[in-house]
Amino acid sequence: MRAYTPKDDVQKRAYYTDRYYVSPQVPKSPVESDEVFNADLEAIKAKFEVLDAYIQVEQMVVFIKPEDNYKVLELMRDELEYTQLSELSAIDFLAQRGGFEIFYQMLSMNKRKRIRVKMFIENGASVNSVEKLFRSADWSEREMFDMFGIEANGHPFMKRILMPYDWQGFPLLKTYPLQGDEFAAWYEVDKIFGKEARDVIGPELRDTAKVDRYDSERFARLGHEVPKGTKITGNEPKNEQNYQEDGGVFLIKKFDKKDSVVIDDPQR
């Protein structure tokens, strides 16, 4: 029977986990323990619903409803002095909860504080663009769309940024394999040579560590080189490589098998 592999997460997973192993948690402290954060949280709570809030590794994490994101960030920028949006992206929780967590990493230079505003959206939902508030969101939201397929409403140019415009699939989803999918294997072949050349060229090899010992066309036989195009079926041609120059190299003594001694006794 074939081993079962879950289809909703094809990323690498631990091959062994002790069945009694319980992961520890990164400690969370209540927001009340920090005056500045507490005041900020109160200001947000006064106008918006806060689903959860805590402090983790010196930064406050605030969970809000996805429809409030623009207003909350506006409040934070204009009234709470969080003048910079450092980072914005998503985390794929499709397998566990059927949606994405989106985080906005905010920085206040006056208070020297960082807040992470987080929200959960269902699969297929879009978010409000905050590009009007922070120009930095222009490219971040494009990257988020590029990598997860989450669209930002009201964004002026919602196109892919890192991947080609005509790419299919969203690379950072957990369902997307590391080596790329079927589309990725044929993308460049189709684009450059046309679909009719598929049989001649074959799919693109995206596993860089793959070594094919029968392939004498590409550089797959390092250390066992044969003339290009040699047919290797059954018995391989013996082709021992000799890399050292005649006469030797300065300071380097040539290793001669005949002069060497093999020690049989391991207890020597």
Partner: protein, 413 residues
């Protein structure tokens, strides 16, 4: 394999014909020598003035965030080298610090001092490289040769330390793998003693140079609001009137023990950025002198530890691994399976030579990060070209790209 006719027919995307207005679209890059990597700009021109700019990136996209999700934490360290490959130790450090904060490791003092040395050497290397390439773009060949010569000395020192010149991987999660070599301090002191004169040489060549001033002054002016809104950090932000340096404001490592100034300017133009870079080199030298003293004090106090003691996350010293069974077992598990940090999230920002380098890690308790987001400063320093270039002329594009100091390993990741 037979030769297959390809479909890459030449087409003239550089010029659009048959237009009513006078607008021309110029395609700049992705193979332009002054684009500092793979940057493609689509510039809409009225005569020689740019009216609209559209930067296009992604030519160096290697999917590092995806790779990180499929690697154990220590395995990812060499990949971080390939982000900002001009100053790779600062990437190593940003990642190491993020993981250390996630699992709560205490790094021994001697390792901290060595890390600071490496970070500042990297900052100098990066700034020298910036000066060299930007000056070359403007046409100052001499400065290019001078600055590369100095950078070479620093690379020799780093090579002596870790064996690599560009991709160092010189920092580990929990400390540093090696103590500095015997000649390190003497070499570094030699270099630092000469540095003020070297910087003065560059400045003598550039500060009053008419061509340099014409290409730099009042060109590429970024206002404070624009810099903040675009998420600019590092010298880009400091040249626009915000004296924000993470080393000073949110000190990590031992930066709160050393004395240094944060150079800044409120001009916001190319020349202001140039001045900030030059002054930062002086400040880095100042920090390096202090770290030498700190290192010598560590030696005198007999602090020999270089890696944190945390058997769950960090392998024991080599001697223990080779002599003690339990250390060997732990090392084996850490290498084959990898460490399992606790469940949680962390965002850690450090001041890389280019700006705020942030690592966001979401851990679900497994040996692979569940999500790792790399916040690279150059990404937004490229994005800002959209708003910055309109109103400038074509030759200004080169000097503006130069002073933004973007590295495409970091933009595209």
């Amino acid at each position: 394999m037979a030769q297959v006719k390809n479909r890459l027919n030449p087409f003239f995307e550089n010029i659009t014909f048959d237009r009513e207005d006078n607008e021309m679209i110029l395609n700049f890059g992705p193979q332009h020598p002054s684009a500092h990597g793979q940057l493609r700009l689509m510039l809409h021109l009225q005569q020689e003035m740019i009216v609209k700019a559209h930067p296009d990136v992604g030519y160096l996209h290697r999917g590092m965030e995806k790779m990180a999700e499929n690697m154990i934490y220590n395995e990812f360290m060499p990949t971080t080298d390939r982000m900002d490959y001009i100053a790779s130790s600062s990437n190593n450090y940003g990642f190491a610090l993020a993981v250390e904060k996630l699992v709560g490791l205490e790094v021994p003092r001697r390792a901290q001092v060595i890390r600071m040395m490496l970070l500042e050497i990297n900052r100098l290397m990066s700034h020298l490289f910036w000066l060299a390439t930007t000056a070359l773009d403007i046409g100052a060949m001499t400065v290019f040769l001078f600055a590369f010569r100095e950078r070479e000395y620093l690379m020799d020192i780093i090579e002596g330390y870790c064996g690599a010149r560009l991709t160092h991987s010189a920092i580990r999660i929990g400390g540093v793998p090696l103590d500095i070599q015997d000649s390190f301090i003497a070499q570094l002191k030699d270099f630092l003693d000469k540095l003020p004169q070297n910087i003065k040489d560059y400045e003598d060549l550039l500060d009053t140079n008419r061509i340099w001033l014409m290409r730099m002054e009042e060109v590429g002016t970024i206002s404070k609001e624009m810099a903040l809104s675009w998420g600019c950090t590092g010298p880009m932000l400091r040249a626009s009137g915000v004296a924000w340096d993470i080393r000073k404001e949110e000190p990590y490592e031992l930066y709160d023990e050393v004395e240094f100034n944060v150079p800044w300017s409120d001009k916001g133009d190319n020349f202001a950025r140039y001045r900030v870079y030059m002054e930062e080199m002086r400040e880095s030298a100042k920090i390096l002198y202090q770290t030498i003293t700190m290192y010598q004090k560590c030696v005198k106090d007999g602090q020999t530890e270089l890696m944190a003691h945390a058997p769950k996350y960090v392998s024991a010293p080599k001697l223990d691994i080779m002599t003690q069974n339990y250390s060997l077992m732990q090392h084996f598990v850490l290498v084959t399976q990898g460490m399992r940090p606790p469940v949680g999230e962390v965002y850690v920002a450090t001041e890389s030579p280019k700006g705020e380098l942030g690592f966001f890690i979401n851990s679900q308790g497994g040996p692979y990060p569940y999500r790792l987001k790399l916040r690279a400063p150059s990404f937004w320093h490229t994005g800002i070209l959209t708003d910055l270039l309109p109103g400038h002329y074509i030759p200004d594009v080169v000097s503006i790209i130069g002073t933004t100091n973007i590295v495409f390993g970091e933009v595209d990741r």
